[in-house]
Subunit: 406 residues, 4 copies
C-alpha cells in the first residue's frame, strides 16, 4: 500500500482544475478485476461506454477513446487530419493553447498563432472576428485547420466555439475546426455536432471525474474524410482501425480496461443526472467562488463575465504577492492543493478548481484555506471571501433537481 | 453496489461524534479477502492487534475484543463482574450514562443513579466527591461496582477518572471501577492502568476510526478475579475462554475478520504517530470549534472548561430554536451530518464531532455548513463563528509533529 | 495495509465451510464510507436489508439483525425465549450442536442432550422419532424448547427440520422449536414459516457470502409471545426494542454499518438469481465433490445420502492417517485452507467447503490440492478424485439459469 | 457499479497471456484518491517508481514511463530513434512481431522482415545467424535498427537477445537493437544493460501484474544520442522532455496517477521477493503446464525446449479441431479465459497464460477447465494432462524462497 505520508490526517482537498477529485463509486469500480480485452464481457462494456461517451460529447458520430492521457489526444487530432508542412491557425488563449501550438511545430506543421497581446490577452477568449479576418485573407486556402481551446485550464476563460464556427463559415473557408475541451467536457455545456466541430479533444481527469489515463477524439464525417488523405505518420493514434473495431466494442490494441470501468460508472452517473443538471451545478459553484474572490478585493483572471469558466476560477494576486507562496502555505498548513499559474502568469495568479466530486462545503473548505493562507502570507484583503461565498450559497439553493440528482 | 443516492455530489461531511469518518487506508484494508479464522495467518493477525490495542488502552493487562458493537461491551463489563441483584453506583453525566443505567436494571442489577439535578446536570462531569460520600456511607460494601462515563458522547463533557479512583480509595471501598470511554479512546488521553480502572469499555467507531462492529473490555487483574465468582449468566461475553485462546491469537468463536484488518491498520496509524500527537490534534480541533461557538454567541454544552471534550462539542440553541430543524437544513442543503440532542436535551442542542479522519478544513466546512444553516433557520447570531475558527486555526499552527505525523 | 505475507503469490483458496470467499462486489460495497446510523440514508438502507433478509429466511415475520457474530445469535435465541432453570431438549448432531448445548448450560438452562452413540452418531442427522418419543414422555411440559442444527458445519450432515416440527406436533407438545442454520442459510433450502420454526439462528459468513460480524434471529409470533415472559436477563440481545425501532429502519444501538452495505449487496445478488437457482448450484457442487471422495476410496462423513449437505463435505481418513497432517501440507504447499475435524472427529476427517464465491474450477483446484496433499502425505488412494469430479462437472452442466444468473 | 453479469458465480479464471490477473494489493492501491501531479507528494512517488522500474529492467539508464498502453511504446521506440524512410531489420517470430513490422511501415519506415517460412516458422525464436548474415551484407549500413521480440506472446517462444547482440557486433554493424519484451518483463529474465539493448519496450499488464495503461521505453545512451537527430515527428512520445522532467519525479504532461500507485506497489512486491525468485516461479509453472500438454498428446507450439516461455504455453490442436471452439466451451462452461490463436495460427492453437497473480492451484483449475473442454468438444486425448500436472507440481516443490516470498 502506498503510504507516502503527505497527508497528516483527514482527506486532502484537491482543488486544482484537474485531475479532479474522483468519486468513491468510480474508484471502486476501477478496482474490479481486469478482464480479457478480447472476451465477450469486454465487448459489451466497450459498446456501452462508446454509446455513453457519444451522449456526453453530444454527437452522433464516432468518439475515439485512447488508452493515453490528454496530450496524446491533441497529437491524435493533428496527426489524423493533417500533412507535413500544413498551415494551421491557432489562437492563444493561455498556456494550454501555447502548448498545443508548440506540439504542432514539433510535428512538422506550420502553426500561425493569433492572439491578443501580452498577459492581458490571457484574460479573454478566442476572438472569432480575428479568425474570420485571417481566413478571408487566406484566399488560397493554405490553412488546413483552425485550432482553439474551449475552456482554458490555465486561466478559467471559456471561448464561444459556435462563434468560431460562424467565423469559418462566414469566411467560406474549408479549414477543419479542431477544439480542445479537455477541461470543459462534462462540466461546461459542449455540443460537438450542433457547433459544427470537426475534431473535439478531451480527457478523463476533469469533468468525467476519472483519474488521468484515457482521452478522446470526437470525429466529424468531414474530419474522417480528411484522415484518409492526411500524410502525417500515424499508427497508435490512427482512427481507421479503432473506429472499425469499435463497431463490435473492441480495440485493435490493448485498451485501458480498468479506466473504462470507471468511464462506464461516470457515464451512468452523469447521464442519470442529466447533462443540464451537471452544467447548472458547475455554474452555481463558479458563482460562489467568484463572489469570494470579489469580496477579497482580488481580480478574477477572466475579464469577460460572459466567458467565466464553470470549471475553475483564476485568482490574480495584488502587485508584489507571489501566488505560489500563498499556494505553498495553503498546501502545507491546510492540506489543500490549488492550481499554480502557468506560463505568462506564473506567480501572478493561482487557480481554484470547482469540478469533480465536489459540493458547497468542499468549496467553503477550499475558500477558508485560501483566506487563511492569504492572512498567513500577509496579503491585505478587502473583506472576507468566505462570508461572501456563504452569502451566495445560502442565498442560492441549487434546484431540487440538483440536490436529488446523484 | 449500494447507490441509495442520498449524496447529490461530492463527499458527505460526517461530523457526528461517531461513527467517525473512516480513512481510506482503513476502508481498503477492510476490503481484503476474508481468511480462515483458524489458520496461521489469522493467528499472526490476532497477536498483532491484541498487542496494539493494549498500547492504546495504556494497559499491560488483557483487552478482550468482541465481534459486536459497543453496547455489547457495556453488557460484557457488567455480566462478567457482577451477580443478580448486585448494587452498582452509576453517575448521570448524560444520555449514555442513562442508557447504561437502564441496561443494568434490565440485567437484574440494582443500580443507584447519582447525579446533579436537571438538564443543567448534563453540563458537568462526574462529581467524585458525591461518589466518595456515597461509598463511605456504604459501610457494608453492598455496592459492588462504580460505573462512570469518561467522555459523554451526548454532551461533550469529559470526567476525571483518576479523581473517581481517588474517591473510591479515600472511601476504602472495594467496589470495582467500570468506565465507558467508547467515544474517548484514541482521541482523548486515557490510562487504564495508571488510573486504576477495573474494566474499560470502548468501541471501534470513534477514535479508532473504524466502522462500528467491534468493541472492547480492558480488564484489570481484580476484575478478572471477580469474574470467577460473578453469577450473571454469560457465554458470548465470557472473558475466560476468550482470554485463554487469545494467547495464541485466536478466539473461541468466529471473530470479525475484516474489521480486525481495519483495527490492525488503525493501530499502525495511531501508534506510528504517537498517542500524544493524536491527543494534541484533537484538543486543537476542539479549541477551534469552540471559538466558533462562542463567536456565534451560543453556549457550549460543557459548562466546565477543564472538562471540554476533545472529541465533540455540544452547541446549545437560543430559547425557541429547534436544534433538529437546524440540523435538517444543514443535512439537506449542505450534505453534512451533525449529532442530534439526546434524551433530556433533545431539540435544545446539537453536537459537532471533531474526530476520525478529519482536519482543519473539514472542520471549516462543517462550521460553514452550521453558520449557513443558522441563517437559513433564522437564528440570530452574535457574529461569525467561521471567522473565529479561521482566526484560531490560522493563528495556532499544529506543531510540526502534528502535521507530519500521518 | 495488512501485508502479513502468508500468500506467496496468487489468491488463497479458502475452502473451509465458512467464512466463505466473499465476492468482490461485496468487499467493495463494504468499503464505502460509513454513514450516520441516525440519518435518513441509513433508514432507507435498514428497511431495504430487513425486507431482503426476510425473503431469504422465507418468512413474513421479523428477522432481528445483530451487530455480532453467530455465537451471539445462539445466545439471543435462548435468552429471549427462556427462563433460568428451563429444560431444553437438544440433539447432538456434531460439534456445533455440542457447543450450543454447552452454552445453554452456561446460561443456567437445563439442556438434555439426545443423540446417537459415539463418533458414528455424528454421521447422521436429527432423529425426529427420538424427539417425539421424549416429548411424549414429558407430560408435564417441563421442556420449553427443542433445539436442533439444520446444517451441521462440523460434519456436512443436514437434518430434516420439517420432520422435527411434525414430531413436536405429533407429541402435542408446546415446546418452541429453535433451529441453527448458521451455515445452511442461503445455500441450502430453508423455510422458516413453512416448517413452523420459532427461532432460526443464522450468520453472515456462510451462504450470505459476507465476512463474519452480523447474525440473525428469525422470530415467529409464538416466540415473540414467549419473549414477553421469559426471565433470562437480556439487554443487548433483547428483541423488543430492536423490532420496534426496525419498523423505521433503525436500531436502538449502533449497527454494523459497513457489513449492512455488504448484506444489501448480498441480498441483491441472491434474490436476483432466485433462491432455487442458488440452492441447485450448491447441490451440484456437492455432487461433484462427493464424486471425488468416492473415487479416492474414502468415506463421506455423512452416512445418509438424503442428508448430504450442499454446503460442505466431510472426508473421513483411512485408519492411521492424521487428517490435520494432510491439511497442513495442502495449506503450506498449495495455499488452500480446508476445515479441520472438530471435537469427537478431530484428526479423523477434514471438511471441504463448497459455498460462497465459488465455481466448478475453484472446486477442481481445491480437489487437486487435496489429491496432491494425499500423495505427499503417503495416503493410498483407490483412484483419482480429480478425474471423477471432472467427469461429473463435464457431464452435468448447470442449467442455463445457473450459468447466466449472477 | 459495473455489473455486466458475465460471471455467474465465483471468480473468473483469467488465463490469457495478459492482461494478467491483478493482485488485490495492487487493485486497492490503484483505488486511492487521485493527487495533484504537480504537487510534492507526486514528485516523491515519481522518483520512487522511476527508481524501481530501472531495477526491473536491470538498467542504470533512463526508463521512460508513458501514460499509454504497450502499442504506444512500440511507436515511441521507432519515432524517437529513426527518420522517415529508414531501413529497419525485423524478425518474424509471430503475430506481434508482424504487427510491429506493420506499424513500422505505417510510420514511413522501410522494414525488412526476416523469418523462417510458414506457420512452422512461428515455432522458433529469432535466428541470430540470419541477422548476422544480413547485416554483414549491408556494407553501406543502410539498416538503422534491428527489431526483435523477446517473448512472443502469440506463440510462447522466447528469443536469445544476447545472441542477437553478438550477431550485430560480429557483423560490426552500427544498427540500434530494439527489443519488445512487453510480455516478458518481470516474468522472464531480461537484462537491458548486460545484453546491450538500445531500446526495450514493455507494458504494465503482464509480469508487472497491473491493468493495461502504462508502457515503457528503456533507453541506452546510444539510443538517446540517436534521438537527437532522428527526424520522425514526435511530441507525445518524445523522450527529451520526459527524461528531463523525470529528474525531479514529474512529467511534462499529465501522467497516469492511479496506475503509478499500482506500479509502486508492483515494484515493492517484485523487488522484495527478488527477481530471481520471480523468474524461477514462472519457469516452474511453465514446466507444470507443459507436462499437461504432453500428457494430452498435444504439441507445444514452441518447438525448441531451450526457448520455452515462462509466461505462456501455446497448445496446438490435432488436425480438424478448432481451437476457438474449445476455448468457447471452456469460457462458457467453466468461466475461464484462454488466449486465442492469432494470425497464421488462428484456430489451430490456443494459449494458456501462467503469469500474474497465479499459483499452482490456479493452474490446476485452468488445466482442469481445458481437459473438460477437450472432452466436451470431442477431442481425443492421449491421457490426462491434469494428472501429469499434479505429478509435476507435487513432485517439484517450489524452493522455500519461492513459497515464503510474497
Amino acid at each position: 500500500m502506498l503510504t507516502l505520508d503527505f497527508h497528516p490526517t483527514g482527506r486532502h482537498f484537491l482543488q486544482i482544475p484537474g485531475p479532479s477529485p474522483v468519486p468513491d463509486r468510480i474508484l471502486r469500480a476501477m478496482s474490479l478485476p481486469t478482464i480479457d480485452h478480447r472476451g465477450p464481457e469486454f465487448g459489451a462494456l466497450g459498446l456501452k461506454v462508446l454509446a455513453g461517451i457519444r451522449q456526453i460529447f453530444q454527437t452522433r458520430h464516432p468518439v475515439v477513446i485512447y488508452p493515453a492521457s490528454g496530450t496524446g489526444a491533441w497529437e491524435a487530432a493533428l496527426a489524423n487530419t493533417l500533412s507535413p508542412g500544413d498551415s494551421v491557425l491557432m489562437f492563444e488563449t493561455g498556456h494550454f493553447a501555447s502548448l498545443w501550438n508548440r506540439m504542432a511545430t514539433r510535428l512538422g506543421l506550420k502553426p500561425e498563432f493569433l492572439g491578443l497581446p501580452g498577459a492581458e490577452g490571457w484574460r479573454h477568449g478566442v476572438q472569432a472576428g480575428m479568425i474570420e479576418e485571417r481566413l478571408k485573407a487566406d484566399t488560397q486556402h493554405a490553412i488546413k485547420a483552425v485550432c482553439v481551446v474551449h475552456n482554458e485550464t490555465s486561466t478559467g476563460v471559456t471561448s464561444d466555439i459556435a462563434a468560431v464556427r460562424r467565423a469559418i463559415d462566414a469566411a467560406k473557408h474549408p479549414a477543419l475546426l479542431l477544439v480542445d475541451t479537455i477541461s470543459g467536457l462534462a462540466s461546461a455545456d459542449y455540443r460537438h455536432d450542433e457547433w459544427g466541430v470537426d475534431v473535439t479533444v478531451s480527457g478523463s481527469q476533469k469533468g468525467l471525474m476519472l483519474p488521468p489515463g484515457i482521452s478522446f477524439n470526437a470525429v466529424s464525417p468531414k474530419a474522417l474524410e480528411a484522415s484518409r488523405t492526411a500524410r502525417l505518420p500515424k499508427a497508435f493514434w490512427a482512427w481507421d482501425e479503432i473506429i472499425e473495431m469499435n463497431q463490435t466494442g473492441y480495440w485493435p490494441y490493448t485498451p485501458n480496461t480498468n479506466l473504462l470501468y470507471g468511464l462506464n460508472e461516470a457515464c451512468d452517473m452523469l447521464l442519470s443526472q442529466g447533462l443540464d443538471t451537471v452544467f447548472a451545478r458547475h455554474r452555481r459553484w463558479g458563482e460562489g467562488v467568484r463572489a469570494a474572490v470579489r469580496a477579497w478585493g482580488l481580480e478574477i483572471q477572466c475579464a469577460d463575465p460572459a466567458l467565466y469558466s464553470p470549471v475553475l476560477t483564476g485568482v490574480m494576486m495584488p502587485e508584489g504577492v507571489d501566488a505560489d507562496a500563498v499556494r505553498k502555505i495553503v498546501y502545507e498548513r491546510f492540506d489543500c492543493s490549488l492550481g499554480t499559474g502557468l506560463g505568462k502568469v506564473r506567480g501572478r495568479m493561482f487557480r481554484i478548481g470547482h469540478l469533480g466530486d465536489c459540493n458547497d462545503l468542499t468549496l467553503m473548505a477550499a475558500l477558508a484555506g485560501c483566506e487563511m493562507g492569504f492572512r498567513l502570507a500577509g496579503v491585505k484583503l478587502a473583506g472576507s471571501g468566505v462570508q461572501a461565498a456563504m452569502d451566495y450559497f445560502a442565498g442560492h439553493p441549487a434546484s431540487l433537481d440538483l440536490r436529488r440528482a446523484a
